[in-house]
């Protein structure tokens, strides 16, 4: 009985950066055989930090090391004939090819749906692009900042005092790419399952990062299509309390979604008489009167430490939360007891503790079996397995070795 949920699933990942890499990571971490194809000078992500001591090193990019666990790495020059031949050989037996090349980059590499479908009719090809493969913006370029703006998310972030003088904001990091990668993994694995459940052929899947972002904006789109209101970073939340507040020794996130939670929080604050004012009657009224309510709650919060409020809140079944730092996460007792962080040994023998399983499978657990690949590390092995003649393999793999 295979110990991994996706054992036997053969995936080829190409492109650059985060979105395709995260989609393939989700599958690799659950046991899929993922081959990451890089160009001769490597995935550009290798040159993006963080790096130890801030010193760029293509084998030590922290983000690359996280996004490419459990994958084998191959270097192929897909703009050359023999590079393409090798790619076809690998794709011939794959279940999925997933990439985030632009349409132009696909063409330069002769990676086309018609050709691949003829080569391997059961193959699913997932194309991730900023705006999709059709429509007036299909040739447009973007990264996380641009996609978060085009998808309507930045418009909702930021603001605060004289907020209209400050730009709409992007969330930290690569959120649009990560969510697009997760959606791409869903659509891809769905299509693969469809071959078995419903005898569907291999398919070409078109994923637009703009559409992914637009599809997770909470209720904000419907503020327009239901309520005729333009929601924005300058507006207020629909229910309160829902805010980052100042405690004695730091900040804490205070949230009451249900009415019984508000009642328990009022008790926690010593049932002050202002809590019975009519204008605070329910969560929507509290939102409407937030400018009055906030200072009253802030008064209480400022007299206690973050941990006092957080622990007391937990006991009273309130969904409060500290503003964790990275150090807090690594030192969390709860996460340690659950064994959340996964230690990986890098090529130079050092170890790195990475975020681990997003879900706990009882029979086929997520596992970190292999560190991210060095550039071209598995070119020879993968091409051998694909049945290419040893001479060509040596030539292709050799060329990669000389370069790295």
């Amino acid at each position: 009985m295979p110990a991994e949920a996706l054992a036997g699933l053969r995936v080829v990942e190409c492109g650059a950066g985060v979105s395709a890499a995260y989609a393939a990571k989700l599958m690799a971490d659950m046991g899929a055989d993922v081959v990451k194809v890089e160009p001769p000078d490597g995935d550009p992500l290798r040159l993006r930090g963080p790096f130890p001591g801030g010193k760029p090193d293509p084998e030590k990019s922290g983000l690359f090391l996280y996004l490419n666990t459990n994958k084998r790495g191959v270097v192929l020059d897909l703009t050359s004939a023999d590079g393409r031949a090798a790619f076809d050989r690998i794709a011939q037996t794959a279940d999925l090819v997933i990439h985030n090349w632009t349409p132009a980059e696909m063409e330069q590499r002769n990676v086309s749906w018609d050709r691949l479908h003829t080569l391997n009719p059961r193959l699913v090809l997932t194309s991730i692009t900023p705006f999709g493969l059709t429509g007036p913006y299909s040739g447009y370029k973007a990264n996380n900042l641009v996609s978060s703006s085009a998808g309507g998310w930045s418009w909702l972030i930021g603001g605060g005092p004289d907020g209209d003088q400050k730009p709409p904001l992007k969330a930290f990091g690569e959120q649009a790419d990560m969510q697009t990668g997760a959606q791409a993994a869903i659509a891809s694995l769905g299509a693969v399952l469809g071959r078995g459940f419903n005898d569907l052929p291999g398919q070409h899947i078109d994923i637009s990062e703009q559409e992914v972002v637009t599809s997770f904006l909470e209720m904000n789109f419907m503020h327009w299509s239901y309520g005729g209101r333009v929601a924005s970073r300058l507006g207020s939340r629909i229910l309160h309390p829902w805010a980052i507040m100042e405690a004695k020794d730091g900040q804490i996130f205070v949230l009451c979604v249900q009415e019984d939670q508000w009642r328990r929080f009022v008790e926690m604050m010593g049932s002050p008489d202002w809590a019975e004012w009519e204008i605070f009657g329910d969560r929507l009224m509290r939102a409407a009167a937030w400018d009055v309510l906030e200072p009253l709650i802030a008064e209480y919060v400022s007299q206690h430490t973050v941990q006092e409020i957080y622990q007391e809140g937990l006991e009273r079944r309130l969904p409060f939360a500290p503003l964790s730092t990275m150090g807090d996460l690594y030192k969390s007792d709860h996460l340690a007891v659950r064994g959340f962080f996964a230690k990986v040994t890098l090529a130079d023998g050092s170890t790195l503790s990475l975020p681990g399983a997003p879900y706990r499978f009882q029979q086929t657990p997520w596992s970190l079996r292999r560190r991210a690949p060095q550039l071209g590390e598995h070119t020879a092995a993968v091409l051998d397995e694909a049945g290419m003649d040893p001479q060509t393999v040596k030539q292709l793999a050799g060329r990669a070795e000389k370069r790295s």
């Binding site: 963080p50 930021g158 694995l189 469809g194 459940f197 503020h223």
Partner: protein, 404 residues
Amino acid sequence: MAAVKPLAGIRVADFTWVWAGPFATLQLAHLGADVIKIESRSRLDTIRGLPPYADNEAGINRAGYFNQYNQGKRSITLDLSKPEGLEIAHQIAAKSDVVTENFSAGVMDRLGLGYDALKRVKPDIIVVALSGYGSTGPLSKYISYGPAQVPMSGLAGLTGYAGSGASEVGISYGDPNAGVHGAFAVLAALYHRQQTGEGQYVDMSQWEASIGLVAEGLVDYAMNGTQPERSGNRDPQYAPHGTFRCAGQDGWISIAVTNEEEWRSLCTALGAPALASDARFTDNAARKQHEDALERELSSLTAERDRWELTRSLQAAGVPAFTPLSNKELAEDPHLNERDFFVRLQHPDVGVRQHPGIPWRMSDSDSTVHAPAPMMGQHTREVLREVVGLNDARIDALEAAGVL
């Protein structure tokens, strides 16, 4: 276009409510699964009771939030505090491939709907349990929601304008993130079952699912003992990378230059080709060093420009850029509409309302939404007849007894 969706024939008994769980089962419904949402009249789904309501008239079937994330699902109502209600829920679960739930720890077991109970009647059942802290560990008995993951994952502390405080990210981002990872977990479990016939239990913590989103911050801390400073829309590696003022009220454009060609094209498109050869901005390193001066120069050039005209001309010049869109502008976006991304279906109570649809297109299977979100209990009779096999007389009796 084959009408068959990849997961046609797969049934999901969905006990989840609010956003994370329903966002997971929305992906399964989009893929063609028959998602049966088990609702309760005495415990209304929170997002049936929140604005925005259609035309701002409240009603349990008029909430845009609910109607967005429950598209294409069936709804039945059962009183699980009554033995007959529980028995029906048990039968539906036993006839489903997947059960999803986000009650607090132990509730499903107490109801006799826990994994061990269901496994006895359906050995290959897949159960995904979603909670804030997971089902083990010192915090497992406490509650936590989607909004709390933004501060608790560390994302709030990493997000914000340079030199100012931690910032939320405009939405309850922990929910959709847990949703897509939950949906992927179901698909991975289905793949394992497709290969081996084995089902399993999956325990998901919203907090753990969100920590990978700040991997960039975590590996920086693990490698260097520090975490990235809040820096607005700037990028650690590239410049210019930000959101600049345009003409008009609250007008902005996000621009992300990642190579020299894009930098030269940007300067030309802004009518300042000489800027490209300014000593302070000759390459990315120089631009990073003089980023304050760079942003002042660019702002002065964008401030008079129309944000749409500038978006088009920059993209035409191959520069990644887009103006931050509001919900209204998404709804009216020519590209999203031409790609038929929005769903416009007749809903019994709110009529035709625009909703974001499926963020993927498959070449050989239907990628459209066929039904709006259900009215509460709309499918009770249909499901009890079809899935549980009760006749109308029995259903009438159950209804009279207040079980439905």
